[in-house]
């Protein structure tokens, strides 16, 4: 790590980590004892369940519905049993299920055969994902020099995957390193993943495996043309967190929006459901080498960025711990934060810079994701461009990992093609013009920025202590995050959570736990 500019107290940082460990421990215990419909659907997808029936119901959903309350034993053995019993490939079995086969009606073969077959299926899944990881590593290394630092991240959101492709390819040619395809509004609340290529969406495009495949192919083509590996991002959030993760692992996505609490707070998804789902989703992301992006920026769009800065830092610590418990290495933790202070505040720039630098010094190995101004973007595109310039300045000078480019037309409409160009041009100007600024400056001892960081860290510890006293579930219920209350048994998706039976069987979960060296309870960070 480079020399500290903020002179942060390392004992305090260690204390915040210890508190986060204590805060997440009871949640981990709960997670270990439970499964969910989406975890089971994910496992089925890992085996090969895919496709839809004539009513458009995905096969994984059909199977989980057939199994019903018995998902407490795990869905894998039913599906694998059906493969053996019928002597079919997954594709053939999917067809039969689509045509009405109820796999729970089949007699069970001897369990040792299921275990044997499971091993083969796990192997096939593992080989495929590992090949994706190797391909990505190879390309990233090959084209390393063309990459911007921070990575420039652009969003497309037309609703039509084929239109997205055009915009994404143009954005890559303009200089973007990372392309995110925004999901259609409302997808996070669907308890299934739509199927096939889609051309209709609102404010974004459906996340489907076919859409992932189409965009991946397009970006690989453009990447080869311009000599760069273009990273692809989607959203591993909502009621299908782990399912989206496995689709991303199979189709070689490179980043996933994936927060441990976002769904609870901002989409009113039940907290138990979210906690159980987020772990498996992060295990998959971890195995597939996918960088997660956490959603701390959202705290600041609902609350004041100066007063509530500590909630961002606290959430980063909690997200880090949950990620760690899922076997995710620090280099894949794109912890989030945002430039959302009121531009009228005197010295607001110094406060923003202190916050960004603090995040970098606390999480030096993490590719931090820095989000642009949105809340105070007014429609004055000229002021907006100026604000984005200051934002870019902070991103570069505090060594952020991923720079989500601000759009001068934020708050007006989904970006025009030219808006992205202007965003990239602005960032490239700043990145080049202050390339070594960070190495060349120190912060004044006990100055505005050092003092600000110290205050926020102290507030963070105070806040984490309060959460620890009441426990995380209660803290969420009593409005301690984002000024919203989410009751423990409220929100969407609770009925999809089930306590695991003693002989719960999930060979894929177990495989990932072993591969990722996840020790149950009480890991040391």
């Amino acid at each position: 790590m480079t020399k500290s500019k903020l002179n942060l107290d390392t004992d305090k940082i260690a204390k915040a980590r210890e508190l986060s460990k204590q805060i997440t421990a009871p949640v981990q215990k709960y997670i270990e004892k439970h499964t969910t419909v989406s975890i089971e659907r994910t496992t089925l997808r890992m085996i090969g369940a895919d496709g839809v029936d004539s009513n458009g119901v995905p096969i994984p959903n059909k199977v989980v519905d057939q199994i019903g309350d018995n998902i407490c034993y795990g869905a894998a053995k039913y599906y694998i049993n059906a493969l053996l019993k019928k002597g079919l490939t997954p594709e053939e079995l999917n067809n039969e299920i689509a045509n009405g086969l109820d796999i729970t009606k089949l007699d069970f073969v001897n369990f040792s055969y299921i275990e044997e077959k499971a091993q083969e299926l796990v192997e096939a899944f593992s080989t495929k994902v590992k090949a994706n990881v190797a391909y990505r590593e190879d390309k990233v290394n090959k084209y390393k020099e063309k990459e911007n630092s921070p990575l420039l991240y652009l969003i497309v959101a037309t609703g039509n995957i084929y239109e997205d492709v055009k915009q994404a390819q143009a954005a890559a040619k303009q200089g973007a390193d990372v392309i995110a395809v925004i999901r259609t509004t409302g997808q996070s609340l669907l308890d299934f993943v739509p199927y096939g290529p889609t051309t209709e969406g609102f404010g974004g495009t459906y996340a489907t495996q076919e859409n992932f495949k189409i965009m991946r192919k397009a970006l690989d083509e453009t990447g080869e043309e311009i000599g760069k590996y273009i990273r692809l991002v989607n959203y591993c959030s909502g009621l299908c967190m782990p399912e989206i993760a496995v689709m991303g692992a199979l189709e070689r996505l490179d980043m996933m929006l994936n927060d441990s609490m976002y769904g609870i707070l901002f989409r009113d998804i039940n907290m138990y459901r979210t906690f159980v789902d987020q772990k498996f989703s992060r295990m998959i992301n971890s195995f597939a080498g996918i960088v997660i992006n956490s959603g701390e920026d959202n705290y600041l769009t609902t609350s004041d960025a100066v007063e509530k800065a500590y909630t961002v830092t606290a959430s980063q610590f909690i997200n880090e711990r949950f990620a760690y418990e899922s076997g995710l290495p620090t280099r894949l933790m794109g912890l989030g934060h945002a430039f959302e202070m009121n531009p009228d505040i005197k010295n607001g720039f110094l406060l923003e810079m202190a916050q960004a630098q603090m995040a970098h010094e606390i999480f030096p190995e993490a590719p931090l994701k820095y989000m642009p101004p949105t809340k105070y973007m007014t429609g004055d595109i000229f002021k907006g461009l100026a604000m984005n310039t200051l934002f870019n300045f902070i991103a570069k000078s505090t060594n952020q990992g991923i720079l989500l480019l601000g759009m001068l037309t934020e708050a007006i409409h989904t970006p025009f093609m030219q808006d992205r160009f202007l965003g990239v041009a602005n960032a490239k100007y700043v990145l080049n013009n202050i390339a070594d600024f960070s190495d060349d400056i120190e912060y004044k001892k006990d100055g505005i920025m050092q003092t600000r960081a110290k205050v926020v860290l102290d507030e963070t510890i105070e806040f984490l202590e309060e959460i620890n006293k009441t426990d995380l579930f209660n803290a969420i219920e009593t409005k301690m995050f984002a000024e919203v209350s989410r009751p423990k048994n409220g929100g969407k998706g609770l009925s999809g959570v089930a306590e695991k039976a003693k002989d719960y069987y999930n060979p894929f979960y177990t495989y990932l736990e072993n591969e990722l060296n996840i020790v149950k309870e009480g890991n040391q960070l």
């Binding site: 390819q169 143009a170 040619k173 509004t185 989409r267 009113d268 007014t378 030219q418 160009f421």
Partner: protein, 242 residues
């Protein structure tokens, strides 16, 4: 009074524009941008900057001068009246309605962006303007995002709402128009339209549009909580609500 845009001399009609054309960057593309500007009715069209966005698209910054002018005296707007402040609203309710009023708000339909409704309703408010939850004489219920129109009406009945606020941020393919229209139709079907003050809000929603869709008012960019509160209480008073 006839007016036209002002650059640096009265009536020069100067306008700055930027746009993209779906053609490769070339001298021909620049000329096409000039011809396009002239077709828009501009004279002295000048491409001051052009740059390729990809192999098939070019971005232009263009200046032109227009000869078109409009009669300012004939311009008519429907605007929401000047509003009371935080204290004024509370006093007005105490004096005229003499009970706490109930306001229910939501970001409805498939829209997941609560930034607008939060700015108006949350305790904290926005830009130093308190949100409705902070008003002692208002019981405010922010139902959050992605509330269906049916649920919103159900909740409004249950809470005995005096007013309903609907926020719509996503406007792609006019999804907000469909949703806002459906809401009013449902409300009318329930026979509740006249019993409640109903307002729409969002960055692309103006008072004019809201009135056309059958709402009592629309609040666009730059609206503060007291503007909304003030309109509601005055409307309730005007309708003789006690």
């Amino acid at each position: 009074m006839m007016i036209r845009p002002y650059g640096d001399t009265l009536n020069d009609g100067a306008v700055q524009m930027s746009f993209t054309l779906p053609v490769a960057h070339s001298a021909k593309a620049d000329e096409a941008a000039i011809i396009f500007g002239k077709k828009l009715g501009f004279k002295e069209v000048e491409v001051v900057y052009s740059n390729p966005l990809s192999d098939e698209f070019t971005f232009f910054v263009v200046y032109g001068k227009t000869g078109i002018s409009i009669d300012y005296d004939k311009v008519v707007v429907e605007e929401v009246e000047k509003s009371l402040d935080f204290y004024g609203v509370n006093n007005f309710i105490e004096e005229n309605i003499k009970r706490k009023i109930v306001i229910v708000g939501a970001c409805s339909g498939t829209d997941a962006h609560t930034v607008g409704i939060d700015a108006i309703m949350n305790m904290k408010g926005f830009d130093q303007h308190y949100g409705l939850e902070r008003y002692p004489m208002i019981e405010a219920f922010n139902l959050g995002a992605q509330v269906t129109n049916e649920d919103l009406i159900k909740k409004a009945i249950e809470l005995k709402a005096d007013a309903i606020l609907i926020s719509q941020i996503v406007t792609q393919k006019d999804v907000h128009i469909q949703n806002l229209t459906e809401f009013i139709e449902l409300l009318e079907a329930e026979g509740l339209r006249s019993k409640m003050v109903v307002c729409a809000g969002g960055p692309r929603i103006g008072n004019k549009l809201a009135l056309e869709l059958g709402y009592d008012a629309g609040f666009g960019r730059g609206t503060y909580p007291e503007n909304v509160a003030s309109f509601i209480v005055e409307k309730m008073h005007e309708r003789g609500v006690k």
